[in-house]
């Protein structure tokens, strides 16, 4: 089959690889109809996440048709159309039973790597380094899906791929970011980052009862999309974020702040240079500018919800602000399986149509081009969907023709 493989820093290539097969009794094989490039794939692309090996198949947002099931998978049949959640979860361990699926104790064979890096390991994730298990990802024609009786959710044929695909990651992730804010009626929520996850946090915050959402980014088309979702916006390249937020909230600060940015934050001025240098010298692995700012801006007794991905250690963390002002920090990789069914219900009810976030659809063969435009935010790119079925001519010539701009 064809699959998009990580070959080194900022190098991906679509290659011929063996077809997947059932290795465990609860596996299913899914023929992929749509798969997306996630913002967190850029952390791999930019080689900020360790334990990648050349040839690793990328991709953890995918859906398609079940073509084979292991003998213990009884809830799925060949032909079912399913969306696959990015965490791989056994459904039977201590954490899965508490619905903390991204902390599954059994799905990460390389747990020792996580123990060395983080003290404890988290669940396996598709196509997301060996630290999270070393599972082949879903930017491919087929994928092996372990614990298929727990993860994949069947979707009705009346909904398009673009409407349900994001149940695999960014919709539940953005939603959990908002849910962790314990939103009460009348709350003002500030959201750092208006990438795809930020967009879903904005809409989820409103769904959960927020009165005002203030979104922070610097990319004009992302800010526009945030406004379309009902948010007020701050362009951090033009405005001092702290001053703007204090003015908008009468000096009290937002009730909760969501960090939808993670480890590769940008910031104006010297602090960005400081973090870039420390990161380059391996003195810190992550650039936590958004997180620092969110902490300083949050109102006393408020909540900091960290859903953007961090990978290692940071520097100049304002713990004094957190402690003296009774802040609560909540965080985690999304427990996607927990949210898929209720969020599908919202989509079916017409409360939200996640396809708004898609800006580019192209053939899987053009994955490398998709990564480039997504990374550099060229061509107003916000979200790229790759179609293994689409007629892609695997050459640069094909790009112009195959790229549909919405």
């Amino acid at each position: 089959m064809r699959a998009n493989c990580w070959m080194g820093k900022t190098m991906v290539s679509v290659q011929d690889v063996p077809d997947p097969q059932i290795l465990n009794q609860r596996d299913a094989i899914v023929k992929i109809s749509s798969t997306a490039i996630c913002g967190s794939d850029l952390h791999l692309y930019n080689a900020f996440i360790p334990t990648m090996v050349a040839g690793d198949i990328l991709g953890h947002e995918f859906m398609g048709e079940v073509v084979e099931v292991g003998r213990e998978v009884t809830n799925l049949a060949v032909g079912d159309r399913v969306v696959v959640p990015f965490p791989i979860s056994c459904g039977r361990c201590f954490f899965c039973k508490q619905q903390m699926f991204s902390l599954c104790e059994n799905s990460n064979p390389n747990a020792w790597m996580g123990e060395k890096m983080f003290g404890h390991a988290a669940a396996g994730i598709f196509g997301y380094s060996h630290l999270t298990g070393g599972y082949a990802g879903g930017q491919a024609e087929y994928a092996r899906v372990p614990f298929a009786d727990v993860g994949p959710i069947k979707v009705p044929s009346g909904l398009t791929d673009e409407q349900v695909l994001f149940l695999s990651d960014i919709f539940p992730t953005g939603y959990m970011g908002a849910e962790m804010c314990d939103i009460k009626p009348g709350d003002t929520i500030a959201i750092w980052g208006c990438g795809p996850v930020g967009q879903f946090s904005i809409r989820s915050a409103f769904l959960l009862g927020a009165e005002r959402v203030i979104a922070i980014d610097m990319v004009p088309e992302r800010l526009q999309m945030a406004q379309a979702g009902g948010a007020e916006t701050i362009n951090y390249n033009e405005t001092n974020v702290y001053e703007a937020l204090m003015e908008m909230t009468g000096g009290r600060g937002p009730d909760a702040c969501i960090d939808d940015v993670g480890m590769e934050a940008h910031a104006p001025g010297a602090i960005h240079a400081y973090d870039r240098i420390k990161q380059a010298m391996m003195l810190e692995t992550d650039r936590p500018h958004a997180l620092r700012e969110a902490i300083m801006c949050c109102r006393n007794g408020g909540i900091i919800s960290v859903i953007g991905v961090y990978g290692g250690v940071i520097d100049k963390f304002p713990i004094g602000s957190v402690m003296n002002r009774s802040l609560t920090i909540r965080t985690g990789q999304a427990h996607v399986q927990r949210y898929m069914r209720p969020l599908l219900q919202l989509i079916e009810n017409g409360d939200i149509d996640p396809s708004f976030v898609v800006t580019h659809t192209m053939s899987l063969e053009d994955a490398a081009h998709g990564y480039e435009i997504f990374k550099h935010k060229q061509d107003n790119c916000i979200k790229v969907v790759l179609k293994p079925g689409m007629n892609g001519r695997a050459s640069t010539m094909a790009r112009e023709d195959d790229t549909i701009i919405h």
Binding site: Q25, R92, N108, P109, G133, A136, G137, P146, L208
Partner: protein
Amino acid sequence: MAARQQDTSLSNATNYSSQRFQPGLPSENGKRLARGLGWFSLGLGITELLAPKFIASISGVSPRRTGMIRLYGLREIASGIGIFAQKNPAQAMWSRVAGDVMDLTSLGIACTAPDAKTGRITFATANVLAVTALDVIAAKQLSGGKKGVHASASCIVNAQPEEVYRFWREFTNLPRFMEHLESVTELGEGRSHWIAKGPAGMKVEWDAMIVADEPGRVITWRSLENSDVDNAGAVRFEAAAGGRGTIIKVNIQYNPPGGVVGATVAKLFGEEPNQQLEDDLRRFKQVIELGEVVVSDATIFGVGYFDQRPAQPPAPGELERAESLPPQVPAGERPLGRSAEEPFAGRRIQQ
């Protein structure tokens, strides 16, 4: 008054000590002796460095040898520092023994020199021999703990101690999660025959007997005579707090033999025996909770750093080379940790 039940198998200390799994710690006597010899080293070294002619004269060595005596002084100072710098100075003590051999050799050579003062050299040799004896004693005492290799690890599983005990007590189950075990055969009367896989088709075999066996609590075993590798192990089962399953604690000790078998055994247990045992226990947890070992594309040949292959599906030939795959699940067997499945219906969204 009911007699308190005596626990013969475990030290029931409630105060956790990180040393409890390392029975072979360096002896206090050896340490004290080593410290004395360390001061001796420093004193002699400084004298040799600053007053080599004096040393030459009292030991009867030719005064033309002062350059070499100065070098020996540096060596003495280095071993002295080594003794004080290391927590367990066994290595520094063995280097002192090596230095003693050098001294003795030099004194032997000095004897043959035309201007040798044989009487003084004999006196010096006797002194060095006495010090050598002390060095060997200290080095041996300090190395006592290094003889056996110990590994310990623990894990927690979602099953009752009795169930987990029963699974482990069936030793033929062990190769399902212990990567290096090829087979265990029950011989009856608490005896069993174990075969471990080595590199290049090598096999290491031993017979073991059960030493203690308390259902739901503990199993200990040790190898019998004529084993390829002398070894012993203990596995304990404790109910986790709050009824959250069972905590399993495993200790394994083995004395590596010499020769080819020793090299094979060393390879088997690798550089980090604790890590290997932890990986085995992780697979044990998977077998108990899920009924089989979970494999990812990257870990088909094992979970070690050098076992990783790219995260892409294996080619058919590759899968055949992966010895542990596909995981052998006896047909019809259900995992212990499996409770009645209640389908997860998602939860309500507050709106």
